[in-house]
Symmetry: C2
Subunit: 339 residues, 2 copies
């Protein structure tokens, strides 16, 4: 059987997915019995192309790398739904830009796929933050699958760990370093850089945006805690209800002293399901005791410790960003949804 | 649909599985749509009981906890295969004692189940070490599943991580702390205990056996490396071909000094698939640089770092032993094999 893949959003992540699919075509067939064609690619700027028999990935990548556009391959006219149905896709990979207020344009794309019984995976936090429950129900109603490995910790397979690796375990509490930019900055500050120097360093390396408030004020972490709440407990916490403190008031002196004291400062995102059934969601810079699994996580790395009933503490550490890493999140979901 | 579970081996781990199944019956139905009955339990010392309609788990556990025997429930006569077929089991959980030379008695039990199209999960390293390839082929031929989450790192879901979480990634190299006893001993030695004091401490806590050679000479790690080779690369490495050095020649002075130097001594088990297609398998005490993800793993904890093509380094940390932890490994496999 052939899986026919549609891709919505062909920026860094979408292009990385296409590269991985192209590079690994034989390996995926051999190792996972996963056979595929890419039958549709749509991007707001680069155009829309589709072929139910499969696009020529080599030509597509050549066009993307040389012209940053797909228009020379031939523009396919029509609404997203029309082209999706024309392409005969069996699964959608969604990697459009994130809008946390509306979830668009990804939300509409995913709704359209699921309504037509087409499974979907996304790395886009927007649709998950806005409408996760609706989308999961829509998937069930239409006998389709919905996956979202990439929305937290990029390709580091946290969602898979929670949903399959720990099946049968109850996660009582999760504590994570879920924002690589601020963890990099705190690491640099522990080496003696000021907040501003560390921020500039993070910006120079492409970790932090020109407007860094999403990272340093803890909003990015708060969104992730809100999504984690859905994944772990099936309950939505509004981002505004996360008890959130960023790292803007943390000084170099504090960070250096804490490291000397053996209790390094980390921006910890946490969610806990109390015995009374209450959810406690926090994002806070914390002096972590040296024996804590997160104390030694430095640089732009992400890590999460899940405290469980049957296994005690399980910690997963890996990259939290990157185009290839996030493309890998889509790839692993596609393989799992495959036939 | 009801999954009918047979259990072979009702020692610490098997009993822990029964406890988990009993405690979590409602949760498993609700969260995973996993409905089950335990229809057979067999143990060399405690007896064999079977009921195709499902045994009364409360009564079974009561008998185990009060008499350490199942004989009062009524002994079911017949060969393993006869009772297994009578019990109408759809899946086997195998937790008999490990024999690394013959794989028995687990190997025969698993062969019998698979030949009859009954899926199996095991925590027993014996059958995997002796006949993994044969068993995987037998499973495929008979349209059954074979799982073995518990054979490395107990319930910490390493096998799941490799096989599903990292689907699409190539693992170039694995380096792990895969023996909790020796890691506990090295941690105690870094605090100033001698080898003998650390060993006694490990024995007092139930980590080390009276004859500790399997742990301290690195044999347990070598077996795990050999199994990892199968899981990661589908290639068998004989345990004797693992380049193996234990910790028997490691002194307190070395360990204390290495810790002061910021390069703690760890017993690292590793397997690497070189670009030339060669497998390099080692078990060695190594001074690990302080920034390595395994440097901060202390006590009886296990951890493994997988170096991958798409995600860089992924580290998974968790318990490597324990009755409830190993029972959880069986449970997660049963849920995944479930219908």
């Amino acid at each position: 059987m052939i899986n026919r893949i549609a891709l919505a959003g062909c920026g860094n992540v979408g292009t990385a997915l296409l590269e991985l699919l192209h590079e690994k075509k034989d390996e995926l067939a051999r190792k996972y019995n996963f056979h595929f064609e890419v039958t549709m690619i749509t991007d707001l700027f680069k155009g829309t192309v589709a072929d139910p028999d499969g696009l020529d990935l080599k030509e597509v990548l050549n066009q993307l790398h040389t012209c940053n556009s797909l228009k020379a391959i031939g523009e396919k006219e029509g609404s997203f739904e029309e082209v999706l149905l024309y392409s005969n896709a069996t699964m959608l990979a969604e990697a459009t830009p994130t809008n946390l207020e509306t979830g668009e344009p990804g939300l509409t794309f995913i709704r359209t796929a699921l309504k037509n019984g087409i499974s979907a995976t996304m790395t886009n936090k927007g649709p998950v933050a806005v409408a996760m429950e609706e989308l999961l129900n829509l998937a069930t109603e239409n006998n389709a699958q919905l996956k979202y490995e990439g929305v937290i910790m990029s390709g580091t397979p946290l969602v898979n760990l929670i949903q399959t690796g720990l099946a049968g375990c109850k996660v009582l509490k999760a504590e994570g370093i879920l924002n690589g930019t601020t963890n990099f900055m705190l690491t640099q500050m522990s080496h003696g850089e000021s907040f501003d120097e560390a921020l500039k360093d993070a910006q120079d390396r492409g970790y932090a945006e020109t407007d860094p408030s999403g990272d340093v004020e803890g909003w990015d972490c708060a969104v992730k805690v809100s999504i984690l709440s859905q994944i772990l407990y099936g309950e939505k916490i509004d981002v505004k209800d996360v008890d959130r403190t960023g790292i803007t008031d943390v000084t170099k002196e504090e960070v250096v002293q804490a490291k000397l004291d053996g209790t390094p400062v980390k921006l910890i995102s946490s969610i806990e399901h109390t015995e009374e059934g209450k959810l406690i969601a926090k994002v806070q810079p914390i002096k972590v005791r040296n024996t804590h699994p997160l104390a030694s996580i430095n640089g732009a790395t992400n890590a999460i410790t899940l405290t469980t009933d049957n296994l005690g503490d399980i910690t997963l550490t890996g990259p939290g960003a990157g185009r290839r890493e996030t493309g890998q999140a889509l790839l692993t979901d596609l393989i799992e949804m495959g036939i």
